[in-house]
Amino acid sequence: MLTRRSLLVASTATPFFSYAALAETPKDIIVIGKQIDDIISLDPQEAFEFTGGEVCGNCYQRLVVPDPANPSKIKGELAERWEVAPDGLSYTFHLKRDAKFASGKPVTAADAAFSLQRAVKLNKAPAFIVNQFGFTKDNVDGKIVAVDPYTLVLTIAEKQAPTFLFYCLSATVGSVVEKAVVMANAQGDDLGNGWLKTNSAGSGPFMLRSWKASESVILDPNPNARVPVKPKRVILRHIADPAAQLLQLQKGDIDIARDLQADQIKSVQGNPAFKITSAARSYIMYIALNQKHPELAKPQVRQAVKWAIDYAAIQKNITPTSWEVHQTFLPKGFPAAIDENPFHKDPAKAKALLAEAGLPNGFEITLDHASSQPQADIAQALQADLAAVGIKVALLSGESRQVVTKTRARQHQMALVSWGSDYFDPHSNAETFNINTDNSDNARNRTLAWRSAWQDKDLSDRAAANVKETDGEKRVIEYEKMQRDHQARSPFVLLLQSTEMAVMRKVVDGFEVAPMSARTIYEKISKT
């Protein structure tokens, strides 16, 4: 444990006006500069934003996780082994016996059952990840059962690809919380939600010491963690301005900067004082073409837009380090993702397609985009590219949530938006980019396909069928085909995939960013 005194020793004798003396943060404390104002809750059964998922990933463990070495394989975290019954409906997990919560109590199947039931009963934003296996508030107590302290049995409603269930359980919402602690802090029927928003009760390497909104998250090591945790404290500091993040990194006031922009990263590349870690994130940027707009509904127009854009120039000049060209609905790194980018800037082809659609002189259209960077710069480049083939784009910029609100109400024409996968199975994106069973304005299932009012029955049905495919290889092949068909028909102009970049001082070791934010772990970070 870190005591007040031990911290003070590290920082005594600081002259008042010279902060150079305190140029480095104490060795055992890791300070990460990050925009953390996306956190709404740190309750793992509620957290659904990037930073929240990352913090929960460090405080909690799940039954299974994607293998960091090969994410298309599943690895046990709390579960030692598991088996699927021949009927494909019943899954039995055998828990490891040495896992302990921060309180010192062992992690039992009762805790795991409680956590998954809790996700269903709370019914917060990520609950659907668990619910899609047929669990409801009323039946979940009988469907997720701890048969003994170390055996958990899940009964799902219909046969699915087993990996689909495993990847869903590996999402943040599948984190195991300590039942006794959570329930001791429950108020009314909130299942401890109010308390767990700002506290932790998990078996991960860290426990949450404090979260101050828009200020900091402080993590202390879990004294009962299975492997020794290197840092004595990890502090996530909210630094909104990337320029300020870079300054503080250069001064050694923070050890790792998480939100530097492309040009800032370029300026530290090759500087021996810094190291960079990066990973392709499952976060893609695309233009949604609303099919309610008569011109955009023409198949040739959709393809014309795809052929008008100079993907390479945008990537190379505006987002050289932070985004990569990516043109399929499955992010790179995902199981079944194909790395094929058929589209490039071909104005002649785009013009020909427009002429074929009866629009040789182009047309006028609006493009909604977030006013932040790099979206604003990209939107301007898109505007110039599309103007070259006769499509006159008026830019409508707004706060990013404003743009999202608009696309959710299907009021956009073209919109530059981004999408992060919910869990590490291809179905996450396959579903949202393809399935649209009810295209009416008051439909219940509002996928991205619905938001753009696009209904392609063939792709929609195939996406729904493929999630049930139990033959892993067949499933992959079908997803690959779907991605190609999607490129040829969809109203989604997929542009870029985010690369998460973190820049750290050269003394920092053992930190890597992971494709899913919940897998970015702090336990091995150290400073020399």
Binding site: E49, K124, A125, S210, I235, A244, L247, T405, R444
Partner: protein, 339 residues
């Protein structure tokens, strides 16, 4: 005007405060309604399915008609309940107790610096009216008010933090001191003193000086300009001329007679500038990662977290009105010229 009558006018002004506050709530409420951002989005995120969205909308009471929502809000407000912020998961009251002191601390130090430098400069400019000194002071002060404050803040960080190393970086305190003194007032400097912890106090003051200095420089122009104007007026007053004729020393005439005469008017100016600083620190707070009310208000607004926006706006409005009232009172009751 008799003293009683002056008090009466003051009471009338004070009585108008609740009406103004009511108007403030109403306008804020309407703004929240016309914002094209779905408040539910901030809570459940972009990917939540419809039933969660609808459930949340119900929990927030957003399904009711706007007038009903308004009446419910005002009813709760009268009982002192500001509701809960969705961004921080705390009650808005608790959030304000946490964020407002940070802004208060920043603005107070800023106004002190601005007054301590701006007033003497203004007096000097008045005494040396029309000379080169006057011009230099004028340009120097106006320069601070001629750049966007985020540029001033970034420049200051570049110079005093990155290059010279005289000042600590952004933030309210160094990470090692986080959570080290019990939060009593949430004014970090005061809390540190209460706990008798000089390390924390020194660190807190060091972190305060830079953002406060930037804010102070930004508002100095107005203070110096008004001081100069008041002083010129005062220096040409009859009794100052009399005092001069009596052969009193120049310093004595300036500071005792002329300056004494304008001090009440200066207090008014300072009070209004202070009110401006309390509301105007948004940008400075963003650059310096200062967890103050301005930052809270901006983030809440852009997430359509209306309880938070309403609560914070009320606090800022109330402070503004209180300071205004104070300035008014000082002017009416203490200024020798109001007869």
């Amino acid at each position: 005007m008799s003293k009683r009558k002056r008090l009466g006018t003051l009471a009338a002004t004070a009585a108008s405060v609740p009406i103004t506050l009511f108007g403030l709530v109403l306008v804020t409420f309407l703004i929240g309604r016309v914002m094209p951002i779905d408040p539910v989005l901030a809570i459940v995120g972009d990917r939540a399915p419809m039933d969660v969205v609808e459930q949340t909308r119900l929990e927030l009471g957003l399904d009711r008609p706007l007038p009903v929502q308004f009446v419910i809000y005002v009813g709760k407000l009268l009982q002192g309940d500001l509701g809960r912020s969705v961004m921080t998961s705390h009650t808005v009251g608790a959030d304000i107790r946490h964020f407002f002191p940070a802004t208060l601390e920043l603005a107070t130090v800023a106004i002190l610096i601005a007054a301590l430098i701006g007033i003497p400069l203004g007096v000097l400019a008045a005494v040396k009216q029309g000379t080169r000194t006057d011009h230099i002071i004028r340009v120097l002060c106006l320069a601070g008010h001629s750049l966007p404050i985020f540029v001033l803040a970034l420049l200051s960080l570049l110079v005093f933090y990155a290059t010279l190393g005289w000042a600590p970086g952004p933030g309210r305190q160094d990470v090692v001191f986080d959570d080290m003194v019990p939060a009593v007032t949430n004014l970090l400097t005061v809390d540190a003193l209460l706990a008798g912890d000089w390390e924390v106090f020194r660190d807190a003051v060091a972190h305060l000086l830079q953002p406060a200095g930037v804010l102070a420089y930004f508002s100095m122009a107005y203070i110096a300009r008004m001081t100069r104007a008041f002083m010129l007026d005062s220096l040409s007053g009859e009794y100052v001329i009399t005092a001069r004729a009596k052969g009193l020393s120049a310093a004595r005439v300036i500071w005792k007679h002329a300056f004494g005469n304008i001090s009440v008017r200066l207090i008014t100016v300072l009070a209004l500038t202070y009110a401006g600083l309390l509301e105007g620190a948004v940008v400075t707070e963003t650059v310096f990662s200062w967890p103050g009310l301005g930052l809270y208000l901006t983030v809440s607004l852009l997430n359509a977290d209306m309880n938070a926006v309403l609560g914070a706006t009320l606090v800022v409005g109330l402070t503004y009105l209180a300071l205004n009232l104070f300035a008014d009172a000082a002017y009416r009751l203490m200024d020798p010229r109001v007869k």
